[in-house]
Assembly symmetry: C2
Homo-oligomer: 133 residues x 2
């Protein structure tokens, strides 16, 4: 898996998040590994079922604000594994996030998502900002 | 690499952190991958030099409170790559952290550390708590 493939999957992740699309989100997560998801402030969620349930409850919240992301960069961490780091903007707050993708059947799949408040985020430039709405 | 080897390396990480030991911390980080370190609230640090510099400045802070960790659990994310999730307690605040280790020359090395505030952490039991001081 080339890092750019993980960056495309990272875009798909924020598109699913932004569109509150549970099916698209579900398709992105690993079916083979025990995945880990750490939403800002939450305790760790381990395993596909707990993770998909959490997205379902986030997406069901009528006050869930839209998300955008910027400044994504990726790096290979070994054969078939790529880490993407980016900044998420939700309701005026910026989070820094890591999304770790592994290759499954030729497709990048999420095994780890962690997002947390970033007090001193870099500015988003027009070039590296993507409005996924 | 067996997940338990990454858990030992995770202990060594918190021992280095707790003892403010720059050399021990430096030895734990990958020399081959472009590592990523996300301290709570900080922007992402990319690459060994920026990461070691950050630990040097954290360890040089005379008011740096001691750290303990608990509830570490690990899972393989692919050949030679293991994610450890645990809770860090610093000055009464609990953070949830991910530490991702890859195998280099038969040793687990850190390629990713991300730590962020956890508002509703699980309780540490006596069994799974380790005072690394």
């Amino acid at each position: 898996m080339h890092p750019s493939e993980a960056e495309f999957a990272n875009e798909a992740f924020y598109m699913a998040f932004s569109r509150l699309d549970v099916a698209a989100m579900e398709a992105l997560w690993s079916a083979r590994h025990e995945a880990v998801c750490l939403h800002p402030g939450w305790p760790a969620l381990i395993g596909r079922e707990a993770i998909i349930d959490s997205w379902r409850s986030i997406f069901a919240n009528p006050d869930q604000p839209p998300v955008t992301f910027h400044s994504a960069s990726s790096r290979s961490m070994g054969p078939g594994i790529v880490a993407v780091v980016c900044y998420e903007v939700v309701a005026g707050s910026t989070m820094v996030a890591t999304n770790l993708f592994v290759e499954e059947d030729g497709q990048p799949r999420l095994v780890l998502h962690q997002s947390g408040i970033c007090a001193r985020p870099p500015l988003a430039s027009v070039e590296d900002s993507l409005d996924v709405n």
